[in-house]
């Protein structure tokens, strides 16, 4: 019979998230899987409820994109008891490894580090004052991407973060906060911007332009996610680098699941997705065309 799989998604708070949902649905459809989708509206309690409902319904497997790392032990144990394999998408959890089958994630700290390393290479020893647009305060990408970036630039004394404020992962807050950075520090004194996601970077680019500066030249911009709009900006030289976070987490997860169901192949606990760095050297226009219909 066809597989029925429950997918507990965090919500639809960003374009990237929407793309992940779209891709997951496509991947399931491709494999003839009946996907039960549950949107948790950013709330962990809703995700736990969804998981419990999936268990009560007796699905064959569960895909979980956890909103936060902690707090899953109990419900995962229930799933285990009901012999329903759980696959984690895009973030892992703080729970004993035997409670889930595998986690398909990128390494958030690593992403930050790639961005830091890139900036270090780019500056080649020149002094640089960096402003940072953080993600939503308290969210794990914000924490880890900050940590990774700081690691990435820790060995370069020429690089210094001079201001860091949250832009809530949104384009409009990115713009607002960048505006205040530009005024508080003076546009000429900022040499680079590091944004925890592309949306904030896109907003910041507009703020920089409105302040009469050239984004990408006067202020270098590096951000994370690789959404279509940042490639468009890069194609016109207004942004410098982005690190891809693929929305296709479900593909590898479902592959692993199918292999397991077919012949009992136990997948590794962590399937890491690639954190690919895109710079101005890539054909950004082409990447944009490629990505723009993926539901970002």
């Amino acid at each position: 019979a066809d597989l029925t799989i429950g997918f507990s998604q965090i919500g639809s708070e960003s374009g990237w998230r929407a793309a992940e949902t779209t891709v997951t649905k496509q991947e399931a459809e491709k494999r003839g899987i009946d996907l039960k989708f549950a949107d948790a509206q950013q709330k962990q309690e809703n995700q736990i409820k969804a998981l419990r409902s999936f268990i009560a319904q007796g699905v064959d497997a569960i895909l979980l994109a956890p909103v936060v790392a902690t707090g899953w032990d109990e419900v995962l144990e229930e799933a285990k008891e009901a012999e329903i394999p759980v696959m984690l998408l895009d973030r892992t959890v703080d729970a004993p490894e035997d409670l889930y089958m595998t986690a398909v994630t990128s390494d958030l700290v690593h992403e930050g580090k790639v961005a830091g390393d890139w900036l270090q290479d780019e500056m080649a020893g020149a002094d640089c004052s960096i402003v940072e647009l953080q993600g939503t305060t308290g969210s794990s990408p914000a924490i880890d991407r900050k940590k990774g970036f700081e690691e990435g630039i820790s060995d370069a004394s020429n690089l210094k973060i001079i201001r860091s404020q949250t832009g809530d992962f949104t384009r409009s807050q990115g713009k607002v906060v960048m505006e205040s950075f530009l005024k508080a520090e003076g546009g000429a004194n900022i040499c680079a911007l590091y944004a925890h996601n592309d949306d904030m970077a896109v907003g910041a680019i507009q703020a920089i332009k409105e302040a009469g500066l050239k984004p990408g030249e006067d202020i270098k911009i590096v951000s994370i996610d690789s959404v279509p709009d940042i490639h468009l900006a890069m194609a016109s030289g207004e942004a410098n680098a982005t690190i891809e976070l693929t929305p296709n987490m479900a593909g590898p997860a479902l592959d692993a699941l199918e292999a397991y169901l077919a012949d009992g192949t136990v997948p590794p606990k962590w399937i890491q997705t690639e954190s690919k760095l895109y710079t101005l050297k890539d054909d950004n226009q082409a990447i944009y065309e490629l990505k723009k219909d993926l539901g970002y």
Partner: protein
């Protein structure tokens, strides 16, 4: 004895039963002990805050801070249990006294400074979450054998449903809440306050004391809900339970309590919680709704329930008291 005033309560109970039966006929696996147990466990923290919210709303007020207080409680517990050797029970007592004091302070500001509850508790909401951030932005796991012990207290029913301690705490809270609302002088004063603060004052209701107690109760129950939530997730997280105040308000309203104050039932809130839980369960069982349709359907069902309630109340009272009650907006 059934009085006309009990009608909204009856409507809510009836609505729940009919809805449950309908869901069951579509998805038979919804009629299992698992689903029933989940309804109790998953909504335990929400139910507990909703009890406090019922009191607040009956008194004519509102408490927007509860969601943040739950988050603060969780983070506080997690940080205290991580950084000190305090026993969880002592930490519970500590955090409960903090949240009670927090609620009481809001009540005092509302009364003595004569400010609307909406705004005072909105500031309280910012403050509580802000404090949670200051304690820790990271989510902090709680590992303590006492927590493991509490989590191991459940009864596994045939059919796989687990009736957990947290569900029992919620049921007890509702029971005590019902007795407090309907059988104590404090409860009567709460209703009196909702009927009209100035009149209640002229009738000798101690306004200051009652207001402070109401918000202290709500704060304390939010603290208790925070404890239950920390048991539920074994962690404290400053971004947790955003917007829970709106869920609680919705549950109270679906339960037949008027936001204008003065009328309502703690028992109604219980069914309000169950109805909301049922909606969510149904949506997950269905599993075809996209993120946006989920929101639209939740809004639509909320509307349908309000309308149903309105219609039934209207149909049964229109004859007796036509239009003269200008349901004050």
């Amino acid at each position: 004895m059934i009085r006309s005033t009990h009608l909204p309560l009856l409507v809510t109970v009836l609505t729940f039963l009919v809805a449950f039966a309908l869901c069951g006929s579509q998805y038979p696996s919804m009629l299992t002990t698992r689903v029933v147990a989940n309804l109790l466990t998953d909504n335990a923290f929400l139910g507990i805050v909703a009890v406090g919210m019922t009191f607040v709303i009956i008194s004519g007020g509102i408490d927007l801070s509860v969601g943040s207080v739950i988050a603060f409680t969780g983070v506080f517990l997690a940080v205290v249990l991580r950084d000190t050797s305090l026993h969880p029970l002592a930490a519970f007592a500590l955090v409960l006294s903090l949240t009670v004091a927090f609620g009481a302070a809001m009540g005092a500001i509302i009364h003595y400074l004569d400010m609307p509850a909406f705004i005072v508790t909105l500031a309280g909401m910012f403050l509580a979450r802000g404090l949670a951030y200051v304690l820790s932005t990271d989510s902090v796991p709680i590992t303590h054998e006492f927590y493991d012990f509490l989590q191991s207290l459940y009864w596994k029913a045939p059919g796989g449903g687990r009736f957990r301690l947290t569900g029992v705490i919620m049921l007890l809270t509702f029971l005590i809440g019902m007795i407090m609302a309907h059988r104590t002088r404090f409860g009567q004063n709460v209703y009196a306050l909702g009927g009209g603060a100035q009149t209640a004052k002229l009738m000798g209701v101690p306004l200051a004391q009652t207001t402070i107690r109401i918000y202290a109760l709500s704060g304390g129950l939010a603290g208790l809900a925070g404890i239950v939530f920390s048991l539920y997730t074994s962690a404290g997280y400053s971004l947790a339970t955003v917007g829970v105040e709106l869920d609680a308000i919705a549950a109270v309203v679906i339960g037949g309590t008027l936001l204008t104050g003065g009328t309502g039932f703690v028992a109604g809130t219980f069914f309000g919680i169950l109805i909301m839980g049922l909606i969510q369960t149904y949506i997950v069982f269905d599993g075809t709704l996209s993120s946006w349709w989920t929101k639209i359907v939740i809004g639509g069902l909320l509307f349908a329930f309000i309308l149903l309630q309105k219609g039934l109340t209207w149909a049964t009272t229109a004859r007796r008291k036509p239009l003269t009650d200008f349901a004050a907006p």
